[in-house]
């Protein structure tokens, strides 16, 4: 930003570029089980983020030597569609996508009873159709629901949300501009029943006090998102129950 005066992203009253208050999440819309072929699927819109997650498995491991004798192998692929960003992204996976795939896997594995399925694998696919900051978090939120929709036994759901620092103000759920222009970004994933943090990353600069506050803010955001996750799941299965049992596409079990 050298030599260029940028517009303030947080106003005096704490108003943000998209009209939110510092502690507000973006509007979230969740849909579950919308894909026919996948064992489980979920779609999330969080602000302008549009993300589809699908789960396949437990199924046979390829290559076979990758299989684990005591638990299921969990694989995760986070990918961004080439039209998901302002500039077209090459469809080949970037280093960033490879790393995010890994941290999403690590964020979800703790809640999966993977020991129930030795010598098999569970694959999690996260496809970002439109990106607007915080895609790894929204991806985890959706992937966790796709796992539940696939009927994978889980200890808990995982909800994920970031906190950030923009114009010296701590904010919840930063969007793309706030993330890029801001001073810090702190994505967190949280399993509320277990009370554990399953993803923690940060880039930027925060004082100890700021970190404490931002961390609390992010965990609180995760709890709010978890409420939405549970509502979405309940809505899905109440609808299935009302229709008199599992309908088409209900292959979980």
């Amino acid at each position: 930003m050298v030599g260029k005066v940028r517009k303030k992203l947080v106003g005096k009253g704490g108003g943000r570029v998209d009209g939110r208050k510092p502690n507000d999440l973006r509007p979230i819309k969740i849909e579950i089980g919308l894909l026919q072929r996948a064992d489980g699927s979920a779609y999330i819109e969080q602000g302008k983020n549009k993300i589809l997650a699908a789960v396949y498995g437990p199924r046979e491991v390829y290559p076979r030597h990758a299989s684990l004798h005591n638990k299921a192998l969990i694989r995760c692929y986070y990918r961004m569609a080439s039209f998901s960003t302002e500039e077209r992204k090459s469809p080949a996976p970037s280093r960033r996508e490879v790393e995010i795939s890994q941290v999403i896997k690590d964020a979800l594995e703790p809640v999966i009873f993977s020991e129930f399925y030795p010598r098999s694998m569970i694959e999690i696919f996260v496809e970002v159709l439109q990106a607007d900051g915080g895609t790894r978090c929204a991806g985890i939120t959706a992937a966790s629901l796709a796992l539940a929709n696939a009927g994978v036994p889980m200890r808990d759901l995982v909800a994920s949300c970031a906190a950030g620092k923009v114009d010296s103000q701590l904010v919840l759920d930063p969007n793309d501009v706030e993330d890029k222009e801001g001073e810090a970004d702190l994505p967190v994933a949280f399993a509320p029943q277990m009370g554990v943090v399953t993803l923690l990353q940060m880039d930027g600069l925060l004082s100890k006090d700021e970190f404490d506050q931002a961390f609390k803010l992010a965990v609180d955001g995760c709890k709010q998102i978890n409420t939405l996750q549970k509502e979405a799941l309940r809505g899905k299965y109440l609808a299935v129950g009302a229709a008199g049992g599992p309908g088409q596409g209900e292959k979980g079990g």
Partner: protein
């Protein structure tokens, strides 16, 4: 099709063949009926144009991006069109992550030929500096749910996305620098190519094969026509064969069905 890891039980296979011998299909359609088609345009605001198309349970999303790039050396005064298809592993248990395989390359190329040969996009208008700078139109196809007939769903989604595309106006400065203005105009699009895919199952033809029908089929034929009823692309797939009369029949069916699709689905 070409998807050897998909499986179908013998009893289902037999049932499909038996029904078809009486002119019926497993899902109750007539042999020349499409499944329900839905088109949602403008689903990805960051793309120049986009569309989510479902044909039955098959779902395909297409995003269009337009960027400044270099022309092909054999067409120095023309913009470029690049069509790419990704069979995302979300879409089918048999799709694996990795670089595009033969099937996704075939899908992209069949869609590409439909768009290119029908001159659907007026690429001549996309030349900025002859031989140096032109606009490149990227059509990226992402298959989200593979339940049969990806060819027709992908072209419908591509055409719908292109029809909804807005492109910035570019000006070339004296020094040859290219600048995008803040004004957006519709992408110059016409001829509306539409493909109709038929599967040959035993001695019969079915339009818009579902996944189970694709697995039973011996061969498929995809016929792409433009709005004037000209044939602009053809693709035979699968190990089966067609007689000369069957090919001619397929083209007649395709011209008739594509008119319906253009009218009812694309609204042109």
């Amino acid at each position: 099709m070409g998807d050897s890891s998909e499986v179908i039980s013998n009893i289902e296979r037999k049932r499909i063949l038996e029904l078809l011998s009486r002119g019926k299909r497993l899902d109750g359609r007539g042999v020349r009926d499409y499944r329900e088609i839905r088109v949602e345009r403008g689903v990805v605001e960051k793309a120049a144009g986009s569309a989510l198309v479902s044909v039955g349970e098959t779902k395909v999303i297409v995003g269009v991006k337009v960027e400044v790039g270099e022309p092909y050396s054999d067409r120095p005064e023309s913009g470029a069109l690049i069509v790419n298809a990704e069979l995302t592993p979300l879409a089918s248990p048999s799709f694996e992550p990795g670089p595009p395989d033969e099937y996704s390359v075939e899908l992209a190329r069949v869609v590409d030929r439909g768009l290119r040969e029908s001159k659907a996009i007026d690429l001549e208008k996309f030349c900025l500096i002859p031989g140096k700078k032109v606009l490149v139109v990227f059509v990226d196809i992402y298959v989200l749910d593979q339940c049969g007939n990806l060819f027709d769903a992908s072209l419908l989604a591509s055409v719908s996305a292109l029809m909804s595309s807005r492109v910035a106006e570019y000006v070339v400065g004296k020094g040859g620098e290219v600048e995008a203005k803040s004004k957006y105009v519709p992408l110059p699009f016409s001829s509306y190519p539409v493909s109709v895919t038929m599967a040959r199952i035993g001695g019969d033809f079915v339009v818009d094969p579902s996944l189970d029908e694709e697995m039973v089929a011996d061969a498929r034929i995809t016929v792409t026509t433009d709005k004037d009823g000209n044939v602009c692309a053809l693709q035979k797939g699968g190990a089966g064969v067609f007689s000369v009369d069957e090919v001619l029949e397929a083209i007649d069916v395709a011209i008739e069905k594509s008119e319906e699709l253009r009218r009812d689905i694309l609204g042109v």
